[in-house]
């Protein structure tokens, strides 16, 4: 546990402690994961027409983006952060490509 995380929460204001590498994983990995999530929503969620699915995919990716980045930032290490980003990314990308190509 870092010095900052050990400090009490009530009112103590500490230096931002998210290490740059974890922040990079959240930014890059979170963006990739969100986009591929939107891609999968467009492919798998039924809609009225192609446009409907496209809008739904776009909206879902924007809404999920900050939550995904926060989830990755909450990893205990940089390695875990990248795992949180890349494993679902690969799974969703595979699912998306299967849906897109079939």
């Amino acid at each position: 546990m870092t010095r900052a995380t050990a400090a009490p929460a009530s009112g103590a204001i500490a230096e931002p402690t998210a290490p740059p590498r974890r922040a990079a994983a959240a930014l890059i990995g979170g963006s990739l994961l969100s986009f591929v999530f939107g891609f999968c929503v467009t492919i798998y969620v039924p809609g009225a027409d192609g446009l409907d699915e496209a809008f739904l995919g776009g909206l879902s990716l924007v809404v999920i983006w900050p939550a995904v980045m926060l989830w990755i930032l909450f990893a205990h290490s940089t390695r875990q952060a990248w795992l949180r980003a890349l494993v679902p990314f690969v799974v969703l990308l595979t699912l998306g490509l299967i849906g897109f190509l079939t």
Partner: protein, 520 residues
């Protein structure tokens, strides 16, 4: 059961989780706080970009030449616009309103580029509409939408800022699990930091939904250019033409075969009768005189009560048949949701009263952002040894300078834009940079807030009074705007006159001056 075992707040978060959220919230706020503030504050002003055209540019104000005079019809005005601009290019027309000025026709496409005229709706005479003339609200809108960066990168950056604002809001909620319990707690003394902290939390709680809606819809609008191609790839196999056609219908090429044109005013009238509680405020004419000629009539619900964006009816100018209707309302959930993005972001669903609520909420959101950064900086500075405080003091001056500066600079831009529009942009930048420079030179940087408030209020009052006294053409709409500006100016002057109590000031004083800072 102890609080530690139960966890904190309604979500039962552990202390470590709360601390983690707090760190993330602080990091996002400190790194992005100034840009968030610029986007939020300029967005509050950008709400009125279209409503204030006639107020900003007295040259395009119009009044009836005599009592009982009737406005010319759309067709007569259209014929005059064609006489000025030619009829070979597409023409986008905005119908006259007291707020927006006269009949505006904008020709584009072809080799001649873009060209526009504004006509007096009663006489058809050309209004001196200099479209290159800088307008303060258009300038501030561009600051909000693109941060004055080249398109589309500025737009994408603003979209990303929306995503990070959502992150800051989520982490802020998680980092303050007791905020709901203290929802009415506001300590005006004994220390400045407590006041700022309470203000930040109050504004955060009460403005959470508004902030979230603005951030999310702003992110969608800003990032549309990035995610649309990916969604088009997956939904339409990458065929952009197919995707465009799915929304706006088929597009015919000009054939060169001449045909007689139906009067646009009768098409407008027919449509407004067919779709009740709506009106046409603008339309786009394509291929005028050709057998493929059409008009795209933009239908707006009156009086702005729809939560979903208006629809566009493409009607043939040859036989009056409907070619296509672009609408967000008759499709599935995705399209309907997307259709709510613009009305929600621009406050288009409740008339002018709602816009004023949006404006006040936008200003309060900006205040929340500014107080968040200042709490962190002030606290950090106080925690440092005396010789290490300059770093935070400099950042504090930058924050106060930028935030107070943009407020004053916007007021200066509105004043200069109203009376000497050619100097709007330099006046804005000079005022902003000037305030930042003053912030670095002042001993008590927090005093700049009060001075900035006086100056901003004074400039706004003087501008409104100047318009009321000096403008030769006044309409009820422009008089109303001047009075609103005057009232806002007086409110700012009044707020700036509020002084903290003696106890609060004496407690805050050591925070403000370098020489008086006690050793840690």
């Amino acid at each position: 059961m102890s609080r530690r075992a139960r966890g904190l707040g309604p979500l039962r978060l552990t202390r470590e989780a709360v601390k983690r959220y707090f760190d993330i919230h602080s990091a996002i706020g400190v790194i992005g706080g100034l840009v968030f503030f610029v986007c939020s504050f300029s967005g509050a002003l950008a709400l009125f970009e279209r409503e204030l055209i006639a107020w900003e540019r007295p040259a395009v104000r119009y009044v009836a030449p005599s009592a009982g005079a009737e406005m010319l019809g759309a067709d007569a005005l259209l014929a005059r616009a064609h006489a000025h601009l030619g009829d070979e290019r597409d023409l986008f027309v905005t119908l006259p309103t007291p707020m927006n000025g006269g009949f505006l026709a904008r020709a584009f496409g072809g080799d001649r580029g873009r060209d526009e005229v504004m006509l007096h709706p009663y006489t058809g005479a050309l209004l001196p509409n200099d479209h290159d003339q800088a307008r303060a609200f258009a300038f501030l809108t561009h600051l909000h939408t693109d941060l004055h960066l080249p398109r589309p990168f500025g737009r994408y950056l603003v979209g990303l800022i929306g995503v990070f604002m959502m992150m800051a809001l989520i982490s802020g909620v998680m980092a303050h699990p007791q905020a709901l319990r203290n929802v009415f707690l506001m300590r005006w003394r004994p220390r400045l930091r407590l006041t700022l902290s309470d203000l930040h939390k109050q504004l955060g709680v009460w403005g959470l939904v508004f902030g979230w809606v603005m951030a999310a819809t702003g992110a969608v609008i800003g990032l549309l250019g990035i995610f649309a191609p990916i969604m088009v790839l997956s939904a339409f196999d990458g065929d952009v033409g197919k995707a465009t056609e799915a929304f706006s219908g088929p597009h015919a090429e000009k054939t060169g075969v001449h045909a007689a044109m139906l009067p646009v005013s009768s098409l407008i009238e027919t449509l407004e009768q067919r779709v009740p509680d709506t009106e046409v405020r603008s339309f786009l004419i394509s291929h005028w005189g050709d057998e493929t000629a059409e008009v795209a009539l933009n239908l707006t619900p009156t009086p702005y009560r729809a939560m979903v964006a208006g629809e566009t009816h493409r009607v043939s100018l040859v036989d009056g048949s409907t070619i296509h209707v672009s609408t967000f309302t008759t499709r599935g959930a995705g399209t309907r949701l997307f259709g709510t993005v613009q009305p929600l972001h621009y406050g288009l669903f409740g008339g002018r009263a709602l816009k004023l609520v949006y404006f006040v909420s936008g200003i309060l959101l900006s205040l929340m952002i500014a107080t968040g950064s200042l709490i962190w900086l002030e606290r950090r500075r106080a925690q440092q040894p005396v010789d290490a405080r300059d770093r935070y003091r400099g950042l504090e001056r930058l924050h106060v300078g930028v935030t107070v500066g943009i407020v004053l600079a916007s007021a200066v831009a509105i004043a200069v834009g109203r009376f000497a529009s050619a100097y709007t942009e330099p006046a804005f930048w000079l005022a902003w940079l000037g305030v930042i420079a003053v912030a670095y030179g002042m001993r008590d940087v927090y005093a700049l807030m009060r001075i900035g408030g006086w100056l901003t209020g004074g400039v706004l009052c003087a501008t409104a009074a100047g318009d009321l006294l000096l403008s030769s053409v006044q309409t009820p709409a422009t008089i109303q705007v001047s009075w609103v500006v005057l009232v806002i100016g007086f409110v700012i002057l009044g707020l700036s006159a509020i002084r903290p109590s003696g106890r609060a000031r004496s407690a805050a004083a050591p925070l403000r001056t370098a020489a008086a800072s006690p050793p840690p």
